[in-house]
Each structure stands twice: as structure tokens, then as C-alpha cells.
């Protein structure tokens, strides 16, 4: 069981290749391996063009990998599934349906035989959960960007997915709205132990939300450079997170990666780099204490790149 739980999502050697117009093949990424344990919140971070959206679409089943497979809960995925809900970058609400209609569409797709009253009740419950009580009968066009994305979140959560997939869900929102929505998502996901894979290019968002942060190098031929374990405590809150002693250690590490190492990593791979097992990097005070006791150096720590 523990084995399955730590490999709840197992990405096994997937590749994405496109035929080039002048012949030949462009490889966005290949031989990509990643494991996500059950109940963990994982952010994938990288520059545009590294194929992170492709990775998410493959997880969602909307794209098929050119190679490799993805195994979820012991089963290889073969297409989209109600087990994996997607929150799209553009909210992707059906504009001719009301808020309630949009959520009810998902609920009635999940429980085909449910009666109208049941579907209605459940939809309203999730609309209330994301703080949209009173807007059930509005059309998406009457809502602000943040409210639309809330509906998208309610729709995704209402079907009780095993995995929640998010593709830069807050990138189109203003900073204030983004902050409140991040709070809500974190509150709901930690309360329910939801397994989440989220694409982002926002370093602060990743540090606030994620348990693990996956760093992808620049494409083409992108790869997972390392997985950073978030050293900040589970009960972190937005207001004080930046005062935590490890906050800037992590932040600097991520920013350094995005600024330079995402470009140079491919040519300067640390010794012993194995794409099947991307190194897990532990940062901050707790990790340093452990390092003192342990003589084996961590691969790919900040010092390795000089």
C-alpha cells in the first residue's frame, strides 16, 4: 500500500515530439520520470516552452505521450477521466450556462443516475465552498475573472477527483485576487488531503502552495532537473511566510534556477544524475543540520553550479 501511495502518480519515461516542418523531429522533452505520492501538492515550474503544459495535458489524458506511460493509482491512463479534474488556465466555463449550470454539468456527468435535486444540492454546496453563494444563477460573463476561476475550481472539486490538475490557474488574475484564491485552494486541498499537480511560473505561488516543487529545464529537450522539498512548515500562512528563516533560501534557489541553471543544467549535469530518479533537494536549516551529520553531498545544491 505504501508503495502504491508513494507512487500514486507515476510518470514513466514520457516524451513529447513534434515533426518539424523541414523534416526531422523536435523533442520537447523525453525520458521524463516523476512520482507524486498520494495527498501531496506538487508544483511544476519552468520557463514557457519547456513542455510543462504538455506534461499536464498528458496527465489529464487530453494528449497522448509520444513515448512512455503515466500510471495513476496502479493503472495506466488511456484518456481523460473523471478521476482527474482539470482547472484550466482560461476558466473554460460554458458561457451559455449559469454558474449553477456549469457545476451541475460536471456533477451530473460524474453521477449519471443522480436526480436533479441531488445534483442541484451538491452543486450549490461546492459553489458555497468557493464563496460564490448568491451568484448561482449568474452567467459567467457577469462575473469577474476571479469569480469565474472560483467556478472552475468548484466544478473541478465537485466531482471528487483523485487528482486535481491545474494549469497556471491564477496567471490571468490580478495580484490581490490571486492571493485570495491561493488561500482558498490551499485551505480546501489541505483539508481534504487532495493530490494536486499544478503548473506555474510564479515562484512565490509555488513556495506557498506546494509540498514539492519540480524544476524543469528549458526546452526543447527539457528535463526534470530536481525536485525541491519545501522546507516551510505545513501550517504556513501567507501573511508571515516571508519572515520564515528558510523562505529566502528556497526562493533564491528557485530564482537562481530559473535565471541561469534552467539554461545551463543540460550541459552541466551533476555527477550521478539519473533522469529516472531526479534528485530531491532539501534546503534550509533542517536540511543543513542533517547534512552536518551526513557526509554524502546532496547533488545539485546551489554550490554545484559554480
Amino acid at each position: 500500500m505504501a508503495e502504491i501511495d508513494s507512487k500514486f502518480i507515476s510518470i514513466e519515461g514520457i516524451a513529447r515530439r513534434y515533426p518539424k516542418r523541414e523534416g526531422g523531429v523536435t523533442t520537447i522533452f523525453e525520458n521524463l520520470w516523476l512520482q507524486v505520492p498520494r495527498g501531496e501538492f506538487v508544483c511544476i515550474i519552468g520557463h514557457s516552452g519547456c513542455g510543462k503544459t504538455s506534461v499536464l495535458n498528458i496527465l489529464a489524458g487530453l494528449e497522448t505521450p509520444s513515448d512512455g506511460a503515466v500510471i495513476v493509482d496502479g493503472q495506466a491512463i488511456s484518456g481523460p477521466s473523471l478521476d482527474r479534474a482539470v482547472i484550466f488556465q482560461g476558466h473554460a466555463l460554458l458561457p451559455w450556462r449559469t454558474v449553477l449550470g456549469n457545476v451541475a454539468y460536471a456533477v451530473s456527468s460524474r453521477w449519471r443516475k443522480a436526480g436533479k435535486a441531488e445534483v442541484d444540492e451538491r452543486s450549490r454546496r461546492f459553489i458555497e465552498l468557493v464563496g460564490l453563494k448568491g451568484s448561482e444563477l449568474k452567467k459567467p460573463a457577469e462575473l469577474s475573472g476571479g469569480m469565474r476561476q472560483r467556478v472552475g475550481i468548484a466544478r473541478a472539486l465537485s466531482i471528487e477527483p483523485k487528482i486535481l490538475l491545474m494549469d497556471e490557474p491564477f496567471s490571468a488574475l490580478d495580484a490581490l485576487t490571486r492571493g485570495t484564491l491561493q488561500d482558498e485552494v490551499r485551505r480546501i486541498c489541505t483539508a481534504t488531503g487532495q493530490t494536486v499537480v499544478m503548473i506555474t511560473h510564479d515562484v512565490d505561488e509555488a513556495i506557498y502552495l506546494a509540498d514539492k516543487i519540480v524544476l524543469m529545464t528549458n526546452g526543447p529537450e527539457a528535463m526534470v532537473a530536481e525536485v525541491v522539498a519545501n522546507p516551510l512548515p505545513k501550517d504556513r500562512v501567507r501573511d508571515s511566510i516571508h519572515r520564515h528563516e528558510d523562505y529566502y533560501v528556497v526562493r533564491n534557489h528557485l530564482v537562481d534556477f530559473l535565471v541561469s541553471r534552467s539554461r545551463t543544467f543540460r550541459d552541466e549535469k551533476p555527477a550521478g544524475y539519473d533522469p529516472r530518479r531526479p534528485p530531491i533537494v532539501k534546503l534550509g536549516s533542517a536540511a543543513q543540520a542533517a547534512e552536518m551529520a551526513n557526509t554524502i553531498p546532496f547533488p545539485a545544491t546551489a554550490s554545484a553550479r559554480d
Binding site: G61, L62, P80, V86, F88, A92, L94, W96, Y105, S109
Partner: protein, 279 residues
């Protein structure tokens, strides 16, 4: 300051009155100016009956005829003397049948074409060739093969209104946003339910645009077709009154054609508004 609508209404009425006045002045026989018609010549030309009065009726004559026609629109005194309302109903009936058949064919077929880029590409040249053919060009072929003038008129309505709807439906279905389809896919919605719950509502405004273009074409076509096939209908009425040299009745017919066409368009416009969604 009154609202724009009220002001526009007042301006419309003023323009209408000015037009009628100009019309009346233009057809009023002038007594003082110009040389009087030589009576001999007038006799030769067969216009003695109207004297100096122009054959062109004034607005009051037309209004009188219009009122007469509206008083009893549905009488039927044999093939050459039917009420205008009845004639109009014949035309609308033909359009309804031909156009209805076109909707039944164009929307489902357009749907299938729109779903398949291959079919869209393969059928496009045929549609592009068939679309610009004048309705009346079909008439001889229709009359020869169908051998029934009434059915031929309906066929011509059908063949002319089918293309805009077909193209618009195919285009609307093909242009449904990928993300909406992805929503349905991730919710494991089956093909049939997806067609009716995502593709149809998303394409509905485009489909209705095609239907609106088509009803306009159908109404243009029916008048011309009825002039050719004869018998009944508002187009036949106009042609018949031309043969009777009753220009006033011709103008009444023209007016009614315009009003009926406007109402048909308004109905479609209202339907279109109902399916249009703001984004």
C-alpha cells in the same frame, strides 16, 4: 431631451411624410406648364381614358387600395381574384416548406461536415460552386424533372436556402473552442451528449446567422419563382396586376413583400438573440 428612440421615430415619420408629399407632387398633373397633349396623339397612344392624369398612382390611391385589400384579405373569387392575405399565405407556406426542408438537411449535414475537417475540405468546392447559382437558373431543371410547378417553386426555395445554412453550421461546429471540448472530454461526456450540450449551444449563434441569411434569400426567391410558375402567391399577384396595368396594386404588393420579409427576419433575429451568449 427625449430619448434617441423617440427622436428617431419622429424623424422616420417626418421622412415618410416628406417622401409621400414629393410623390404626390410628382404625380399631380400640371395644368399650367408644359404643352398639353395633342388629343389625336393621346388617342393614338390609348391614354384618353386617364386624360392628363398620369398612370402612376399617388400615395393616396395606394393607401386606398391598401386599405381595400386589408379590409377583406382572405376572399377567393377564382384563380385571378384572390385576397392579398391569401396570396401572402400561399407564398409563406411555400417558403415554410422549402426552408423547413433546407433546415432539416443543412443543420445535421453541416454538423457532420463541421466535425470532420476532411469532409469540410472535400465538400467545400461543391458548395462553393452551387452556392452562387441564381435561383431562377434552377427553374427549368426543376420544372423538367419534377413536372409540377408548385413543387418546383418549393425545390428552388430549398436549393437556394440550404447553402448558407450548411456553410455556417459547418463553420460554427468546426470553430467550437477547444477548451470547451476539453471540459466535456475530462468529464467523460459521451459523443451524443457532447454534441447537444457543448457543440450545439456553442455553434448556435453561427447557425442562426446562416438561417437568417437563408430566410432572406428564400423570401427574395419566392417572389421571383412565383412570377414564373404563376397560379398563386404574392409574386404571382404582382405580375398579374402588372398585366392588369394596375400600378397601385403592384405597389401594394411590393409593400406587403417588404413587410412580410421584415417580419420573417425579425422572427429569426429574435431566435438568434435567444441563443447568443456573451463571453
Amino acid at each position: 431631451m427625449k430619448s434617441l428612440g423617440v427622436r428617431a421615430g419622429i424623424l422616420s415619420v417626418v421622412l415618410f411624410l416628406a417622401f409621400c408629399l414629393a410623390w404626390q407632387i410628382a404625380v399631380t398633373p400640371s395644368t399650367s406648364s408644359g404643352p398639353a397633349l395633342d388629343p389625336e396623339y393621346a388617342k393614338l397612344m390609348g391614354i384618353t381614358t386617364v386624360g392628363a392624369q398620369s398612370a402612376m398612382p399617388g400615395p393616396l390611391d395606394v393607401a386606398q387600395k391598401f386599405w381595400d385589400a386589408m379590409k377583406n384579405p382572405f376572399y377567393d373569387n377564382g384563380p385571378n381574384d384572390k385576397g392579398l392575405g391569401l396570396q401572402l399565405l400561399y407564398s409563406i407556406g411555400r417558403v415554410a416548406i422549402g426552408y423547413g426542408l433546407a433546415v432539416l438537411v443543412a443543420v445535421p449535414v453541416g454538423f457532420l461536415i463541421g466535425m470532420s475537417p476532411l469532409a469540410y475540405r472535400a465538400l467545400d468546392p461543391f458548395i462553393q460552386v452551387l452556392k452562387p447559382i441564381s435561383p431562377l437558373a434552377w427553374m427549368p431543371l426543376a420544372l423538367y424533372t419534377i413536372k409540377d410547378s408548385n413543387l418546383s417553386a418549393i425545390f428552388v426555395i430549398f436549393i437556394c436556402s440550404v447553402w448558407p445554412m450548411l456553410l455556417n453550421t459547418a463553420f460554427g461546429v468546426g470553430a467550437v473552442r477547444k477548451e470547451w471540448l476539453n471540459v466535456a472530454l475530462t468529464l467523460e461526456v459521451g459523443a451524443w451528449r457532447r454534441a447537444f450540450t457543448v457543440i450545439l449551444p456553442a455553434a448556435a449563434p453561427t447557425i442562426l446567422t446562416g438561417m437568417r441569411i437563408s430566410i432572406g434569400i428564400a423570401w427574395l426567391v419566392i417572389v421571383a419563382a412565383e412570377m414564373l410558375v404563376g397560379g398563386t402567391g404574392i409574386g404571382y399577384f404582382v405580375w398579374n396586376e402588372w398585366n392588369n396595368l394596375s400600378i397601385a396594386n403592384v405597389i401594394v404588393g411590393i409593400l406587403l413583400i417588404g413587410i412580410a420579409g421584415m417580419i420573417l427576419d425579425l422572427i429569426l433575429a429574435r431566435l438568434q438573440r435567444r441563443v447568443t451568449f456573451p463571453e
